[in-house]
């Protein structure tokens, strides 16, 4: 059960998908979230799934918030720019197989709008505080490394990491199976859990906006990240708590005098 609810069916011309779901350092979530705000992109669909955590969050003290991934679009304003579909969300799949199901569902959906290219954004946990975080890159097709190498992306990620877990990588892998091309941009970040890293998001945004020929004001990024962080941290905290709670309940000792008699 993975459902996409569509509010509007915009006509887009050869759009690029930009993925920014939560992950290490929440770099994608923050970068794409900020891009959406600055561009004034419009929400046109949202997804929920049985692979998300089975709870709702409370915001503004009493309002229910279902865990979601959200689709926004933005139409090119100037020559050289491209129409965009921007994907952000509260979470990724809780189960391993859910990742495949959710990403295939999303690819089926965006393919109908003509998506043939994508940029995905993640973090690379270095274990150290990075003063000048780099952007590392991985690609679905070899030629893309040449094309985008000039935008400050370091295409030697494989020397330091062997794999990309979750959405940022699977979007490229599964997209390639249907003929889509993709670049994954990984911002270096410490990787300490539950830390949102605006510095890494900033360097990724810099490269991404150059590629997309978009100009945005990044001076408000720090402030906005601080705001966003509250919500993102809350989701993370809650998921951890709920996981711990569920785990505790499953391990709770059985009380009562009645002797255990198992029947089969």
């Amino acid at each position: 059960m993975t459902v996409i609810k569509v509010f509007e069916r915009p006509k887009l011309k050869n759009p690029i998908l930009i993925e920014g779901l939560p992950g290490v350092g929440n770099i994608g979530r923050v970068a794409v979230g900020y891009l959406i705000e600055e561009l004034g992109a419009k929400k046109f669909a949202q997804l929920y799934s049985e692979h998300f955590f089975p709870f709702v969050m409370l915001h503004e003290n009493y309002q229910i918030h279902l865990l979601k991934n959200e689709f926004y679009y933005w139409k090119a304003k100037k020559p050289g720019q491209r129409d965009l579909i921007l994907l952000i969300g509260d979470c990724q799949s809780l189960s391993t197989h859910g990742h495949y199901e959710i990403i295939e569902t999303i690819l089926n959906f965006v393919e109908k709008f003509g998506v043939k290219e994508m940029f995905t954004i993640g973090g690379l946990a270095t274990g150290e505080i990075e003063d000048k975080p780099k952007v590392l890159g991985a690609v679905s097709h070899k030629e893309l490394a040449k094309k985008y190498g000039k935008f400050g992306i370091d295409f030697s990620a494989g020397e330091r990491v062997g794999y990309i877990v979750g959405a940022s990588g699977l979007f490229l892998g599964l997209g390639k199976e249907r003929g889509m091309k993709g670049v994954c941009m990984l911002g270096e970040t410490s990787g300490f859990p539950i830390v949102t890293d605006p510095k890494a998001a900033d360097v990724v945004l810099e490269a991404l906006t150059k590629i997309l020929k978009i100009k945005i004001d990044t001076t408000k990024l720090d402030k906005r990240v601080a705001e966003m962080e509250k919500f993102i941290k809350k989701v993370e905290d809650l998921q951890r708590k709920a996981l711990t709670q569920i785990s505790k309940e499953e391990k709770a000792p059985v009380k009562g005098k009645e002797q255990l008699r198992y029947i089969g």
Copy 2:
């Protein structure tokens, strides 16, 4: 595999769904169970699911009881009242993704009877024995907090909790996706496991019956709760025992002299 078996298809006029599945303090289960008895509501459908525990309970020493959720209806008797669909049950989903599947199945079902509004009932575990438990509330739509604030519901739950796990919250979240409006009522309760809290159920019932313009005699609540508690505790005990048993079996050491030879 989540199946709803329907005994009767009552014609209902703009009915409200009242959900009372088991949870912390079993407040919803007790409150809605009592309401069903006092109103003389009629059972018209029941649900079972592969996401429930794979056992049957024995009651009256030798009768098999399959784990179920049950649907009752009640038709308005006086002006100002509304038709009701009341949902109670033995358990919620065992697996995380099962919650989504079961609740979507239920929403599909009650939507056909015209449900557009719902009240869900849960407990808020405070860790302390509450002498005067409050009813905290959460809503799918902001305006509902204003509308129902006057019935003694405290709409500041979010100050104290960040999320609602399971049915009480997901009904509102998933219902909202299809245009339904909902209020979740949470009775304060200690939250010690395997405790049914009639006091908290009482304060929730008080607010709920005021809202629904229904008068019921709550003097029998304590006695009925004591009766209900036996059955509810039994389900909980058995689930815990079965979980522990399953866990033990999975961890049982392998005996025998034959050396382990793994082939792949």
Copy 3:
């Protein structure tokens, strides 16, 4: 993926289903297996499922054996007897939700042959060696306890146990939902793991054959059980080993100097 492969579609008159899948003491497996041999019942279908363990066993040193449940039929020979469908197997579901799926699949299948009644056989683990094991019973419908009480079945199981896990109980619970009637017969057994209990199987067989008005020679039971036990124990041993092996592999420490860098 639960598949039933049918070799023959016998015409049966109002047949009774007798279930004997493995469980505590393997009482059902042994009793029904022996009944099949003594009656000369004919195999007409077999089931395999993704919910079984993903391995094959080797028997006679080099022959592959896929884990299966098997269906046999026997036609009534004398007045007062009934046609039978007998179900035995190597295992039950590995996952909790698999039980529901497999049993519903089986009920769909046997319903087409006209099954409206069933006897399921399990064990009740007492924790003690029983010199004179009793047969305890549970029923889908109250009136059955009266009907079958005279055959030496003790219908007070509920005083000593609260639930029946797995097939023996769920067949009755799920069968009842489609109007089938059933009796579960539980032989008292020590319940020490990996022990097949012929004594308990004997007392269950005694009651069952009386009910079914069938006469079989039980003098060979001990010998046959010793033979059957080898195979049944092998399946159990292997499942335990495989579970332990899988668990070890999942916990195996990661080696190598390369520092872990997680990307998301």
Copy 4:
């Protein structure tokens, strides 16, 4: 979600399936991989599945590699030879039930090309370094042991092992259900984790090529295995790391002063 993407639909005459997915010692993977190279077999399809690990690997520093199983074909060149479908891959199913789904999907696929016979290749972990590893065999049908005993396969595997986990065994078990015949060849190997065993692959290849009446030059095997090993080890390492990482994250303690309040 298990998808086979087909590049070409070769017309094959009574082809034999040769399975070489990763397992103990990676014997099948190495032997069939080498066979594909030496024969110049052509890739015609590939499979990916939600039951694989949800990550992509990076190779040549920046190229994304989705986990896959791959199908190659080779047409008989000389009398006595048979057309072949060769199956290799990066991994087997992560979940127990995934094995059944993936193998049934593959059997459905190859059945359309006329496959009625198969050879599967695995390893038998002996716990010791084998100087002269043997090839042990298991079969779907008794008569195959006679037929292939003369090729140096020892059909007494069952004396030393009781079961075959995963693809090598299930292909035979599930294939038999649809009338296919199969032989599983198990090379003796130490079974120390993350070791690719070219010696065991060599003896299996020797027997297999004799059976298939194919001549290949095995002098390059050691060198090629060393090359292949890098990639295979990487997949294994990454899976282990990812598993450990996921497990750590799930166990991470919850921090923060906010008291846990669980609502249900």
